[in-house]
């Protein structure tokens, strides 16, 4: 599946004294199996952009196309093909058991009993929850990290071809954050599910994203392979973003030695550079 926003605009709080354009003439394509990160300062319109991509919120101007066909022109998006989890998705839990809550989406799609069961089990496994232990439990009795996992499973059970996630790790502890990001990458690799994550933690996006979109004041200001943008310190800082820690480190090494070091994106790369720096320091 390929979705495309064409010159899309969205006005926040329309018709009030405080209306602001949240998304302003954005064109963006997401193709099958892609892993895209959307970053930008608070209020840059990244959450609104994600909502527009889901088709749930119609754009105020421009249009959304799915596989080349405009959605507004009567073509409906195939049900369940796009999944979206808004910020703090655990706020939409409502069933008495974890199983029933995750089964909500497949039931709405009208799949059979067996298929429903298969999907719930697969979704719970994908978010790292033991189905026998958690399935019968009341979602409101779980910890916030577990609730987040249940909520994400509830969207995964749609088995969408495109998954949109708005800050899926916000408010979670570091171990849970890393685990969830790791599982998403795994899902994408195993099933080719295209994913778009909105976030502002560059270290996390460095792990997740293959392609990065940077938004500022409602517009897309950069859209390139993640490595290229995450290592562009000037660009990131101009748009109020912090470069990943490893990139900051490489820059410091460059400044200290006077010799240019390529920005590191992984800890392994950073470690190599530090080792080299220490050898030089020792031989000097």
């Amino acid at each position: 599946m390929r979705i495309e926003l064409e010159n899309a605009g969205f006005v926040y709080q329309q018709g009030t004294a405080f209306e602001v354009p949240a998304v302003n003439g954005v064109s963006l394509v997401v193709g099958p199996g892609e892993r895209v990160g959307i970053a930008g300062p608070v209020g840059s319109g990244k959450s609104s952009l994600l909502a527009l991509m889901s088709g749930i919120v119609p754009p105020d101007s421009g249009r959304l196309l799915v596989d080349g066909r405009p959605v507004a022109g009567g073509t409906r998006i195939e049900r369940g093909s796009i999944g979206i989890a808004f910020q703090s998705p655990e706020n939409s839990l409502f069933e008495k058991t974890v199983y029933d809550d995750v089964a909500f989406a497949p039931r709405n799609l009208g799949v059979g009993r067996d298929e429903e069961r298969r999907r719930v089990m697969a979704a719970l496994a994908a978010v790292g929850l033991d189905r026998d232990q958690f399935g019968p439990r009341n979602p409101f009795s779980l910890s916030s990290g577990e609730q987040r996992r249940v909520a994400l499973a509830g969207v995964l059970a749609l088995e969408p071809r495109l998954l949109l996630l708005d800050e899926p790790t916000a408010f979670l502890d570091p171990a849970t954050r890393a685990d969830i990001i790791g599982r998403l990458v795994e899902l994408n690799r195993a099933h080719g599910m295209a994913m778009v994550i909105v976030g502002h933690d560059m270290d996390e996006l460095a792990v997740f994203a293959e392609r990065l979109v940077i938004m500022d004041s409602g517009r897309v200001v950069a859209d390139s392979p993640a490595r290229k943008l995450l290592t562009d310190v000037t660009l990131l800082e101009r748009h109020g973003l912090e470069p990943p820690g490893t990139v900051q480190l490489s820059r410091m090494i460059t400044q200290k030695t006077g010799q240019h070091v390529e920005p590191a994106l992984t800890e392994a790369e950073a470690l190599m550079q530090l080792k080299k720096l220490r050898e030089q320091g020792g031989s000097r």
Binding site: Y12, Q13, Q14, G15, T16, A17, F18, A51, S54, I56, V57, R79, G80, G83, I84, A85, F86, P89, N91, S92, L93, F94, F104, A105, N108, L109, F140, G154, V155, L158
Partner: protein, 263 residues
């Protein structure tokens, strides 16, 4: 966000004289205006009342589309009132629709009732358009304060009202988000038979209740942490002060209403 926007975009910021008037006087004037609308006997009075409101709108520079938005919810009711009255007997027959005759008196009376309804809604809209919610609650709470002398908890009552006003927009925005989130999971609220429709409310209402209770709980903790002890020993910071313009305003209101009732 559209749903929330319709309800919370109630204040039209501005610095006109109408905006600056004491909220208590505006609340009293709106109340008097509503009562007078029901006492006014005929068209001359009604036209005078409409002119007075139009003057306030013009001074406050409220855009026409805001007024239209305000009466949108009652257009159907006003239209129905008008049509229902059309067939009242009296005066000349103006037209015949099938077996029904439309009388002059019916048109006259129907238009009167419909106009009265529209003016009623518009007058309260002008109050909320020109008064910041903060001042509106302040105004109400000062008007309620004589209750304190009757040993009713006047401060607590006005605080309750102010918190309700504070959280309505928040909850509406959250409601909007929950609806979208459940739609994203394939829910189709409001579709199907009665039972299905009733059941489809749960995925929206349960999360909304859970969130409301959490807000209430957290708000209580935050208030206690910030030394809330009820009205005991509390400073009243903003004292509303009546100014000359408020006196002039009330005189205008009194004269207009008296004239409308007498003509």
């Amino acid at each position: 966000m559209k749903l929330a926007g319709a309800v919370i975009g109630q204040y039209f910021p501005g610095a006109s004289v109408v905006h600056l008037l004491d909220p208590r006087m505006k609340i009293l004037a709106a109340f008097a205006y509503a009562v007078a609308l029901f006492l006014v006997g005929g068209y001359p009075g009604l036209i005078l009342m409409a002119a007075a409101l139009a003057a306030a709108v013009a001074v406050a520079r409220i855009p026409a589309r805001w007024l239209l938005r305000a009466i949108k919810p009652i257009v159907f009711l006003a239209g129905f009132t008008f049509i229902f009255q059309l067939f009242l007997r009296g005066g000349e027959v103006l037209a015949s629709i099938g077996p029904l005759d439309v009388y002059e008196e019916g048109v006259r009376h129907g238009a009167f009732l419909a106009a009265r309804l529209v003016l009623l809604v518009l007058s309260s809209a002008v109050l909320t358009f020109t008064t910041a919610p903060v001042l509106l609650t302040d105004g109400f709470s000062r008007l309620l304060s004589p209750l304190g002398k009757l040993r009713l908890p006047a401060y607590e009552l006005s605080l309750m009202m102010s918190i309700a006003l504070r959280f309505i927009p928040t909850l509406l925005m959250e409601l909007d988000r929950i609806i979208k989130a459940q739609k994203a999971r394939g829910a189709e609220p409001g579709r199907g038979g009665l039972v299905r429709r009733a059941r489809s409310v749960l995925p929206v209402m349960v999360p909304l209740f859970v969130l409301s209770f959490r807000h209430a709980d957290e708000l209580a903790l935050a208030m206690e942490s910030r030394c809330y002890r009820g009205g005991r020993g509390r400073t009243v910071r903003r004292r509303l002060k009546l100014r000359a313009r408020d006196a002039v305003f009330m005189v205008i209101v009194a004269v207009t209403i008296a004239a409308a009732l007498l003509v």
